[in-house]
Symmetry: C2
Subunit: 221 residues, 2 copies
């Protein structure tokens, strides 16, 4: 999958040099990642194809898991910030953040507090830097979910006043061109189920908005 | 209603001295506020009485509105942080935060950025300090919604590293004793509707957990 990146607090140096082997694994999984879509069940847009976070998370988990990236439970003393970090390997953290936009600042600030507290949740590997995976603004998706451009604005806002120091690489999943292969998944109940009823590879066209809004994804038969 | 407070970054001085008239209005509305409850529709706990954020917000809005506290739309340049502040008067802001816990750090950090940017969204009143209204941990409520004790932990974590400087008063709505008057409201559809079907004043008992978990609210007939 095509993606863009934005680096903060020296993440370019970190992931291009001392953590470059770790980044190469992430890049491999991102590049192999397919666009996952599902049919919306939100009022007024039922049936429209939208970005599918559940399928995306699952494929990322499968690929990163093969490279031994693992879920990291936060120490009990920090559990008020949420339960854990999506993926950790040797002190590099990944959050796949396709949820409501306020989760971003929770992810960033809890990382900042652990970073400054010099916490080592797993063995000897002190926390070194973070990758946050988001989706492009133009992807049709559930209301109020975080997108890459918004995340860049958030982190620029914090950065202007030195409110975070964790080396952070933002990834924005995107598509190039007018059409792409995708995986269309249906679930046993529309909103909350993760039980797959069917998953098939399809080809979709990407109809871009001329006014900076959402694209439309159309199934090509 | 009974409530607790926790002050950060000099909020005690701000709200006891230069903004004491504003705080007195807030205190009046908090003291007059009734406990609002509704029946849960979450799986496994249908029908149990839980805290009702919609009713609480409405009563706060009615009371604060009488004192000319108004919704404050964020300037367009900050809209990526969310649309607006629940209540503003003369540069004092109030957020009633009963939603998912990540909203707290979004509220705090966007306020911090505007504070440091010295933005004056409404006329000549520069932003001076914030009040965040939450509910007690022991209140039975929707999953993953913010509570006072958790908010105190969040802000202590940020404060340890000087990650925010806005004078901030946290309010934790609570009940004293074993029973209290409450307003029981039903809505036209269980989860998302704000259309009131019925609202009646009831008396409920508060059965405290012995293990630090949620209390149970029981209807007294």
């Amino acid at each position: 999958m095509y993606y863009r990146i934005a680096d903060f607090n020296g993440a370019d140096t970190l992931f291009n040099r001392s953590c470059s082997a770790l980044w190469n694994e992430v890049d491999e999984c991102l590049t192999a990642l397919k666009l996952h879509v599902k049919q919306s069940d939100e009022a007024g847009r039922q049936g429209n194809l939208i970005f599918n976070p559940v399928g995306t998370n699952q494929e990322l988990k499968d690929c990163l898991g093969e490279h031994d990236w693992q879920y990291l439970q936060l120490p009990e003393a920090y559990s008020f910030f949420g339960l854990g970090i999506d993926f950790d390997k040797q002190g590099a953290w990944i959050e796949a953040q396709f949820s409501n936009y306020p989760f971003l600042l929770n992810n960033i600030l809890r990382a900042e507090v652990l970073y400054r507290d010099k916490v080592s949740p797993r063995g000897n590997h002190r926390f070194r830097g973070m990758i946050v995976i988001t989706k492009a603004k133009h992807f049709p998706s559930s209301n109020s979910t975080l997108h890459f451009e918004q995340a860049v604005d958030h982190l620029n806002g914090l950065n202007r006043h030195k409110l975070f120091s964790v080396p952070t690489r933002l990834v924005g999943l995107d598509v190039e061109g007018d059409s792409t292969q995708a995986v269309l998944t249906t679930y046993s109940s529309p909103r909350y189920s993760r039980t797959v009823t069917s998953a098939r590879t399809v080809r979709i066209s990407v109809e871009r908005s001329t006014r900076g809004g959402s694209s439309k994804f159309h199934l090509l038969r």
